[in-house]
């Protein structure tokens, strides 16, 4: 795919060009800055763009590589960060007016790891307020728009990261996922999103939504790129050792046992287009030698209540200091405020029963994953709704498959697996045993080796009209990213 513009090339390709000095990180960074200048007004993928920081990072990378000090595959690669990861000297808003002027003194662990790997920080990407829920018409920051159809949500809450990747506004990104917030936008925007095992990637310096459900993980355009990003995000083990997520990625998947939760799928309405794409994806995996069989997911029907009680109660606890202050709580957007309030109404026993049930669910899924290696389902039951359709849904959740794995802490990967009749992307969800990201990535890479869904690109937003078409998504902040 070398005929693709630089901003759509994979990290793997760009890294090789940079390492061999066929491409300058400075030249690459300028290509992305130009792309952001052209496309961000139409997509609102970035809250804050950091061109000067990016140019400094790129010049440093170029100087180091020129003198033979190549740091690794991420050196000189332009990336973005969801605006919940604190960045030293760069404001971190969590998508909220409440943190409009919050400029951290230190990097989060995720930002520090990206910096140490020699990446180039292009900016901070849009998050729904405090990474909760979906866009709301009076949100302070205008929500990111789906590059495949700008009247539709890109999914969230890592909405800006997904939109930026899909439209070529960064080479890789890191998102956070508390009830599906990496995989939901990955599916709706046609990119790859990996929620790793709980705490595999450090959450230190990340603005929380719900401590026991929050995960950080890579978002990319290919599975190979996700493996590269994960490798630098994962903390060293007790002996200084860590797994390699890149080596063995192209190993065959013959004999891999894939479980299909047929009863759970039947109990959760899935659109015809999504079902068709899902079954086609299973055909591909079978053609690669995987064996599929039905599995039950005992207690999955309790997941929604468990997730909502735990998520909202933990969010209420985190936000209590601000809620106590009359002038600060007035700065919350109405959508977030309405979603936060129920957290103050749950009793301690309801929270603890939810945690007990969660332990049972995890053990049930561990038993399922003794019988099969991977559980596969559609990522989302439907493709991306319009902003108007989403507003009509209100606070309703419709994430039956993805949120299970926030509760269990097991890793879960969404990859593109097709399009619906309107040309909107569909995601395939692959979930597995705790700390076995290697297998998920291997299955995902095998699938991408046999398909080209991940290589399809949305219509160019520059050639396809200007900024927001739907006035309701302009945002109180006026619809422009801040350039630092």
């Amino acid at each position: 795919m070398n005929e693709q513009p630089l901003y759509f090339r994979s990290i793997e390709d760009l890294s090789e060009l940079i390492r061999t000095r066929a491409l300058s990180p400075v030249e690459l960074t300028e290509a992305f800055i130009t792309r952001i200048e052209e496309c961000n007004p139409a997509l609102q993928a970035y809250i804050t763009v950091t061109p000067e920081r990016a140019r400094d990072d790129a010049r440093r990378a170029e100087a180091e590589i020129t003198r033979g000090a190549w740091r690794g595959p991420l050196h000189g690669i332009p990336v973005s960060l969801k605006d919940v990861f604190e960045t030293a000297g760069v404001r971190t808003t969590a998508g909220s007016r409440l943190l409009l002027d919050h400029v951290p003194a230190e990097d989060s662990d995720v930002a520090a790891r990206l910096r140490a790997a020699g990446t180039v920080l292009l900016g901070k990407t849009m998050a729904y307020e405090f990474a909760l829920g979906t866009p709301y018409e009076d949100d302070f920051f205008p929500p990111a728009r789906n590059p495949w159809d700008r009247d539709r949500i890109p999914g969230g809450s890592s909405s800006g990261s997904a939109a930026a990747l899909s439209a070529g506004l960064c080479a890789g990104s890191v998102g956070s996922d508390t009830g599906g917030s990496i995989r939901h936008p990955a599916a709706h925007s046609g990119v790859v999103g990996l929620k790793p095992t709980y705490d595999l990637v450090s959450r230190a310096g990340t603005i929380p939504l719900a401590w026991s459900l929050d995960h950080a993980g890579p978002m990319t355009r290919s599975v190979g790129d996700a493996a590269l990003l994960l490798e630098i995000l994962v903390a060293d083990g007790p002996e200084g050792a860590r797994a390699s997520y890149v080596s063995g990625l192209d190993a065959p998947i013959r004999g891999t046992r894939i479980g299909i939760p047929e009863e759970f799928l039947a109990a959760n309405p899935v659109s015809e287009d999504v079902l068709r794409a899902f079954h086609s994806a299973l055909d591909v995996l079978r053609s690669l030698g995987a064996a599929t069989s039905p599995v039950a997911l005992p207690w999955a029907e309790h997941a929604e209540a468990m997730l909502l009680v735990i998520q909202r109660a933990e969010a209420a606890a985190y936000h209590e200091p601000w809620v106590q202050e009359e002038d600060r709580r007035a700065e919350y957007g109405r959508g977030f405020w309405e979603r936060l309030l129920p957290g103050y109404t749950f009793s301690a026993t309801e929270y603890l029963q939810a945690q007990r049930g969660r332990g049972r669910l995890r053990r049930n899924l561990e038993q399922v994953l003794d019988e099969v290696d991977v559980v596969a389902s559609p990522t989302m039951p439907r493709t991306a709704p319009t902003f108007a359709e989403q507003a009509a849904l209100g606070v309703a959740m419709n994430v039956p498959f993805i949120s299970l794995f926030n509760l269990t802490g097991q890793p879960s990967l969404s990859i593109p697996c097709g399009f619906d009749h309107q040309g909107l992307p569909i995601g395939l969800l692959l979930s597995g045993r705790a700390f076995d990201e290697q297998l998920l990535l291997r299955v995902g890479a095998a699938f991408q080796g046999a398909t080209d869904w991940h290589l399809r690109r949305p219509p160019d937003p520059v050639a396809n009209g200007g900024p927001a078409r739907d006035a309701r998504v302009a945002g109180a902040a006026g619809g422009r990213a801040t350039w630092l």
């Binding site: 095992t197 709980y198 909502l308 405020w337 129920p342 009793s347 049972r360 700390f435």
Partner: protein, 77 residues
Amino acid sequence: MSPSRNLRPQGDELDAGDISTLGSFRPASRVRLTEAEARMVRLFRDRCAEGIRNLLRDLRAQDEPATVFGPGPRSRA
């Protein structure tokens, strides 16, 4: 204060006007809720409370041992 004051009110007892009628949370300053906000909170809470009641029913029915607790993947029964 009557002992029942500390019990969480049932859904149909929630009032618009003051968040402190919704549960045990006691903000330092008064938090006013609109009728729409109170209705939304009530619906959401009732739906979750029903879900937790169903969960508890299954925990009991399947003799889930009360000695087991822990959310993380490394926690073992």
